[in-house]
């Protein structure tokens, strides 16, 4: 992997050390090992990652720039298990030309990869704490590596709570996994949808309504949130009203990206480059910037 940092632990907010001085704009060709359909418009792409010594290829929360040769390149969060060697997994929603080109790849096709880039979820910071994961829509994808990490190092963390909201049951990601995780001890998985049909026996309502079914201990909880910005804003409000401080809350932000490495200037939000100061931010840093109209 050119330009990517191979890391063991990384705290959110502390960006990764710069990678080797390779040209970070050159993609490495990786073969597609598997393509899974998650929903009607979302697919998970599994790529073979060459090289490496078995240590993690990325930290939870990071993203790669994925290149569909000749079509385009996009930032996509890595959604796989950092503890699984040799694989890079991406959950991609088909919304345009480039994403369509990526999700229609077959096993054996090649995709270009640059990265991993960006800051990561506070897996070290969260040790010894209750972890509250709140995801909306495709926002569960960059959080799944955090869940994998916690499950692999279960003894390092206390209670795990996952609150997940999607548009409708057919838009939900990783349903089987979520169902399986429900049975784990010290783990609470709650899902809700905005629009439910008769066959859906779960909660219906926006994801903030799930909080009342949890027991939060604010002084020992770390929260990681990812989803549409509106959702994240309301979730933060809910968490603060329940006693979490700005240092306990982390979000993953998103802006237009062209280079992913801090040169093109497109991803700026206030003083931050989302690609290198983020995408994961402690709320303390994002406070005052997120939600400003036309910032």
């Amino acid at each position: 992997m050119n330009g990517g940092a191979i890391l063991t632990e990384a705290d959110a907010g502390a960006a990764l050390p710069p990678g080797p001085s390779a040209d970070v704009m050159l993609p490495a060709p990786c073969k597609v090992a598997q393509v899974d359909k998650e929903t009607h418009d979302t697919f998970t792409l599994c790529l073979e990652a060459k090289g490496g010594d078995g240590s993690p290829l990325f930290a939870p929360g990071q993203f790669s720039m994925l290149y569909a040769p000749g079509v385009g390149e996009l930032p996509i969060s890595i959604s796989g298990d950092p503890g699984e060697p040799g694989r890079l997994v991406y959950t991609i929603r088909s919304v345009g030309k480039a994403t369509h080109a990526l999700v229609t790849k077959s096993v054996g096709d090649t995709v270009g990869v640059r990265g991993p880039f960006g800051t990561s979820w506070p897996m070290t910071e969260g040790r010894g704490k209750d972890v509250l994961i709140v995801a909306g829509g495709i926002g569960l994808a960059p959080l799944r590596p955090a869940i994998y990490h916690i499950l692999r190092h279960r003894g390092d963390y206390r209670r795990l709570t996952v609150l997940y909201g999607a548009r409708s049951p057919r838009d939900m990601l990783y349903r089987k996994q979520l169902a399986a995780w429900t049975y784990l001890p010290d783990t609470q998985i709650l899902t809700t949808v905005d629009y439910g049909g008769l066959s859906w026996r779960g909660y219906v309502g926006v994801v903030t309504t799930l909080f009342r079914y949890t027991r939060l201990q604010p002084d020992r909880t770390i929260a990681m949130i990812c989803g549409p910005e509106i959702m994240m804003r309301y979730v933060v409000r809910e968490l603060e009203s329940r006693g979490l401080t700005a240092r306990d809350i982390y979000l993953s932000m998103e802006r237009n990206m062209k280079c992913g490495v801090g040169f093109c200037g497109h991803c700026q939000l206030g003083p931050y480059f989302i690609c290198k100061d983020g995408p994961v931010f402690p709320w303390k840093r994002m406070q005052g910037w997120m939600g400003k109209y036309e910032l």
Binding site: G3, A15, L16, P18, G19, S21, D23, V24, M25, L26, P27, P29, K31, Y67, P69, G70, V71, G72, E73, D109, T110, V111, G112, E254, R255, N256, K258, C259, V261, G262, F263, C264, G265, H266, Q268, G270, P271, F273, K276, K292, E294, L295
Partner: protein, 417 residues
């Protein structure tokens, strides 16, 4: 302003092999702006005719020499071979939205203030083919890349103090942050700088406010100050690096008489005295962050065309876009990097819309980034006070006026409370 974070740059420095006490240009530009208190290097003099010899020597060393030329009614930085290529006897008149060349009587080579564009297009080119790929059995293969090509060797002749500061700012952004841009770094590493101090200022200059000039303190290979008048034309010269000293020796530079040195100092002071515009830097970061909703933004939005001229001529603006396209057969594809501007509607496009759709929000983004956010990102404001954005704005928008107006608005609002 620039000095304090140049100290920080020094932590990132590579070797300083070529540096002299006076100033340093390291192989990797980062230490180009050295932090040690500059002791004056030995002052020399050269005749105007020696400029041709200077250019030849540099060409002999493999440099393409880029210097000021007169073209299309403006001073344009382009290839030069001899002193006659320089715009002797020409000066410029600048005002908001205005640029004219005029003859001056003293026949000075460097009597203008600034070229229309800066040196940015040589170090951070407007278009770069980042790579070309071809399909093969493994998927694709990179057959060509910008970073694998040997970078050109440029020697810049006529770099102003503000332009040196701008280069240092781009060094910080493009080579001294998390990742380094090999295209910029390669050209920068090869760069030979002949700086020329300003002996006059245009009506749009405000380098004194930004702490970037008109005096050049450090960061070049050769520093020249042209004295022209009373029928005499010569240049006071000093070396900033060993390489510069070598070239000066080769072209027969002699020790400068004390009077010449004094004349040069006075001329630079004279340039400073001509500056009329002011930008109050102290507190500008907090001011622009706090005044996010200032009425002044609506006011400037009524005038701003969002044409992006300012970003094109600004020597520190670095934003680029990346485009991928394949050929008709689909057998090969190229990725290109091109200058971009935060003034475009699509700059902030995400999820079906632009975050900054209104012209107001885009102007505010540019100015706030340049003077405030840049400080958080890179340790100092991103503006060097060259005034090009004022000159080349078709609406004549003057950022020094805008900042002052925002400050006045803020003070008036505070007084009302």
């Amino acid at each position: 302003m620039i000095g304090s974070y140049l100290k920080m740059l020094q932590q990132l420095a590579f070797g300083k092999e070529d540096a002299l006490v006076h100033g340093q240009t390291s192989p990797l530009l980062v230490t180009a702006m050295a932090t040690t208190q500059a002791e004056p290097g030995t002052k020399l003099v050269i005749e105007v005719e020696a400029i041709t010899e200077l250019i030849s020597r540099l060409r002999g060393q493999g440099y393409e020499v880029i210097g000021p030329t007169r073209r299309d009614g403006a001073i344009v930085y382009d290839s030069v071979q001899k002193v006659e290529d320089l715009p002797a006897g020409w000066t410029d008149e600048q005002a908001p939205g205005k640029y004219r060349l005029k003859n001056n009587e003293d026949g000075a080579l460097f009597g203008y203030t600034l070229g229309a564009q800066g040196w940015k297009r040589f170090l951070h080119p407007p278009e770069v083919k980042l790579f070309r790929v071809e399909n093969d059995s493994d998927g694709f293969r990179i057959v060509e890349s910008a970073s694998a090509q040997p970078p050109p060797k440029y020697a810049f002749l006529g770099v102003r103090a503000c332009e040196l500061a701008a280069i240092a700012l781009q060094d910080r952004v493009l080579t001294a942050d998390w990742y380094a841009d090999p295209v910029y770094a390669g050209r920068r590493r090869n760069l030979f700088i002949v700086a020329v101090q300003c002996t006059r200022a245009s009506a749009n200059c405000f380098c004194t406010s930004m702490g970037t000039g008109p005096q050049v303190k450090t960061g070049c290979d050769i520093l020249l100050t042209e004295i022209a008048g009373d029928g005499r034309r010569f240049l006071v010269a000093a070396a900033g690096t060993r390489a510069g000293a070598g070239v000066l020796a080769d072209i027969g530079a002699k020790k400068a008489p004390a009077e010449a040195v004094k004349q040069a100092d006075r001329a630079v002071e004279g340039a400073a005295a001509m500056i009329t515009k002011r930008l109050e830097v102290s507190g500008v970061r907090e001011l622009l962050y706090e005044q996010f909703e200032s009425a002044r933004w609506d006011d400037v939005a009524r005038r701003c065309l969002t044409c992006g001229n300012c970003t094109m001529v600004c020597p520190t603006c670095f934003c680029v876009t990346v485009d991928d396209a394949s050929d008709f057969s689909g057998q090969s594809a190229e990725r290109w990097r091109r200058w971009d501007s935060c003034f475009t509607q699509s700059f902030s496009y995400i999820h079906g819309g632009s975050v900054r759709l209104s012209p107001k929000s885009r102007y505010r983004q540019w100015l706030t980034h340049k003077l405030a956010a840049w400080q958080d990102q890179f340790g100092s404001p991103g503006c060097v006070g060259c005034g090009r954005c004022i000159t080349w704005c078709p609406a004549g928008i003057d950022i020094t006026e805008e900042v002052a107006a925002i400050r006045d608005g803020a003070q008036a609002a505070a007084a009302r409370e």
